[in-house]
Amino acid sequence: NAGVTQTPKFRVLKTGQSMTLLCAQDMNHEYMYWYRQDPGMGLRLIHYSVGEGTTAKGEVPDGYNVSRLKKQNFLLGLESAAPSQTSVYFCASSRGRADQPQHFGDGTRLSIL
């Protein structure tokens, strides 16, 4: 049972390039989340989804877009990467609302030069 799988694990981009981070979960969870984690800060929510075909903004959505075309997948896009987006990105999923644990992938380490 893989749980939450994120690809790629590492990536280096140049300023202005675009890319998509992939998240897949095999737990049949309704809810999926994208976070970023920066030194000395707690996890910050970028975007999330409460079900297939839905997305919503989190705390720090600017510069990112997301799509949830299939229940098991949640994609995070950077249209024009900026150095401020250098971070570790985590995807998580949960069965329902925030009265249940979220289960995390092992992250994507992204550097923007």
Binding site: G42, A56, R97, A98, F104, G107
Partner: protein, 113 residues
Amino acid sequence: GESVGLHLPTLSVQEGDNSIINCAYSNSASDYFIWYKQESGKGPQFIIDIRSNMDKRQGQRVTVLLNKTVKHLSLQIAATQPGDSAVYFCAESMGLWTDKLIFGTGTRLQVFP
């Protein structure tokens, strides 16, 4: 190596001793609380959760205590082992009334022989 966790408070304990990690939460309306463990280069791993109608919950070698009066949460680890070395952080939410968890910044636990 993993740069997340710079400047975090650190708890150093000897192998075999008990560890107590504390967390102050901010919202008196929070109804649900979780503890996560994050090892270097990995995603957060769910340890234990507790709802506001409980004061204490026990798992395998771990106990979570909730004091709603002073908005304080603690994680107790019995017979700490080297494999317990990690960053631990708490998260809170308003349970069924929200889709989002709010994460703390964490405490680094170092276990020495």
